[in-house]
């Protein structure tokens, strides 16, 4: 998105088709967005009309959330859920709030101490609202404590030091690292492993996935991170968006296959490549 924004800002010359910015992939990107929107609209409408939706496949990492909270409850220890980078305009934050609402609600029901470490001051305010709402839904608004949401400035290593320190001191039984992480992923997940916490991570950053996979008990890879809201709520309309996403994946696979064939047949006249660049 930011690349496109930068490219669009620098775009010069004659607009494509008279209305599109002169940026590579502007028209094809628009068509892709329209196709995905129509697909999502179709499946959401189908779900609203009561038509059966396919079930989302089992995601061990999401199923393990209940187990992790149960363990924390038995041990009388807390549950930590954290993200450093995500601000309120970041799609990772919206994914995070899906987890947060579910985990906070369960923690409220089981009277387990829940802690969120936020790295963005705007997100921290929203986190507080999401958690308060979850406590309210669980019928335990009084269980919300002022130290549930802990805002630590999002400077990479300052935040990591603070989070690692909290882990060492408070020894939570479960930790959840949700969203986009950088090099701090290694420190956080290893400290979590040292204190013996059940660890669940979800990220789309392929560079950090190996670290989470090495140190965490469960790792949600790529788009699995975003599926949590739909998976945990089991709401058919949200499931519809996941189905649309999967259909989109099939279309992408077909386009990739066509591109490979076109490249093998005639690299200069690869119509798929030209179409995507338009």
């Amino acid at each position: 998105m930011s690349t496109l924004l930068a490219a669009a800002a620098e775009a010069q010359g004659v607009p494509r088709w008279g209305i599109f910015v002169d940026v590579e992939g502007a028209v094809s990107g628009f068509i892709t967005a329209v196709i995905l929107t129509v697909l999502t609209w179709y499946f959401v409408t189908a779900a609203r009309a009561g038509r059966p939706m396919p079930e989302i496949r089992k995601l061990a990492g999401l199923d393990a959330i209940d187990e992790a909270i149960g363990r924390a409850t038995e041990m009388g220890r807390s549950v930590f859920l954290a993200n450093r980078t995500a601000g309120v305009g970041n799609v990772h934050s919206f994914a995070l709030w899906g987890y947060m609402g579910y985990v906070a609600k369960l923690c409220a029901q089981y009277d387990t101490h829940f802690v969120n470490i936020a790295g963005d001051y705007l997100a921290a305010a929203v986190n507080e609202e999401v958690i308060k709402q979850a406590y309210l839904e669980a019928g335990r608004p009084d269980a919300f404590k002022p130290d549930t949401v802990r805002y630590v400035p999002g400077d990479q290593w300052a935040w990591t030091s603070a989070a690692a320190g909290m882990l060492k001191r408070e020894r939570p039984a479960a930790t959840m690292w949700i969203g986009y992480f950088y090099a701090e992923s290694m420190t956080l997940s290893e400290v979590g492993a040292q204190i013996g916490a059940i660890q669940i991570a979800a990220t789309t950053n392929t560079a950090q996935l190996p670290f989470f996979i090495a140190s965490c008990d469960y790792t949600l890879i790529g788009e699995e991170e975003y599926a949590a809201g739909a998976y945990l709520s089991k709401e058919p309309m949200l499931t519809g968006t996941i189905v649309a996403e999967d259909v989109g994946k099939v279309i992408v696979a077909i386009v990739v296959l066509l591109g490979v064939i076109a490249q093998l047949v005639s690299p200069e006249a690869n119509f798929v490549s030209k179409m995507l660049q338009f």
Binding site: L4, A8, P15, V130, W157, E190, L209, L238, E245
Partner: protein, 211 residues
């Protein structure tokens, strides 16, 4: 009404920004810039609210003499002294910048260096070949590691068949590794797009304090 207004605002803003930046001529009517300035203004207001909140939370810790209360005193002193000092002398002042440069980068570098030790302990766990998959991953990792140090070139020179250890390493990194990374990236893009659509359509409402 309380529920609908934020959803309508989100959708309208998203549609305007999407069309005016990504598709039509840049800076059409200047709306993206206007939205960004609104966001910056709100962020500046929130900064003060954040300071007030920190004062409230840590003030309570100090009053109750909770565990590690002295750290709360330290935090509040640093926060206010540095903020007031910056407001008086400006953020280009040499002394103001010296305080930051003399403390923060070295501390950050120290923390970053510690990642090496955590990597070692994580590698120890990751490199236990319990299954065929894990063994394959371990073999690839060991290969890439050895080929990145001079001993790799000594074992199998890059000037020989297949480009030596480095040649095979480059193939591992640029072919199977890239293929998997791109597969994940495509899935992540679609997942992110689906999430954004859920927000635009008002299906994802957690951020509005609704279940």
């Amino acid at each position: 009404m309380k529920r609908q207004v934020p959803i309508i605002l989100t959708t309208v803003t998203a549609v305007i920004v999407f069309f005016s930046i990504i598709l039509f001529k840049p800076d059409a009517a200047g709306w993206p810039g206007k939205f960004d300035r609104m966001r910056q203004f709100m962020a500046a207001v929130m900064m003060f609210m954040g300071m007030a909140n920190m004062t409230r939370v840590h003030g309570s810790v100090i009053r109750k003499k909770d565990r590690n209360w002295m750290f709360s005193v330290w935090l509040l002193v640093i926060m206010y002294v540095y903020a007031i000092f910056g407001l008086i002398v400006g953020n280009t002042n040499t002394t103001y910048r010296w305080f930051y440069n003399a403390f923060i980068p070295p501390i950050n570098a120290t923390m970053y260096a510690m990642v090496a030790f955590y990597l070692t302990s994580a590698s120890f766990k990751a490199f236990r070949a319990r299954t065929v998959d894990a063994a394959l991953m371990m073999a690839c990792a060991v290969w890439v590691m050895i080929s990145n140090v001079p001993v790799g070139d000594m074992l199998w020179s890059s000037e020989s068949w297949l480009g030596g250890m480095a040649g095979v390493r480059d193939w591992i990194v640029s072919v199977p590794n890239s293929a998997v990374s791109r597969g994940i990236a495509v899935g992540s893009f679609l997942g992110g797009f689906a999430t954004q659509l859920r927000i635009f359509l008002g299906l994802e409402r957690r951020h509005l304090g609704q279940g």
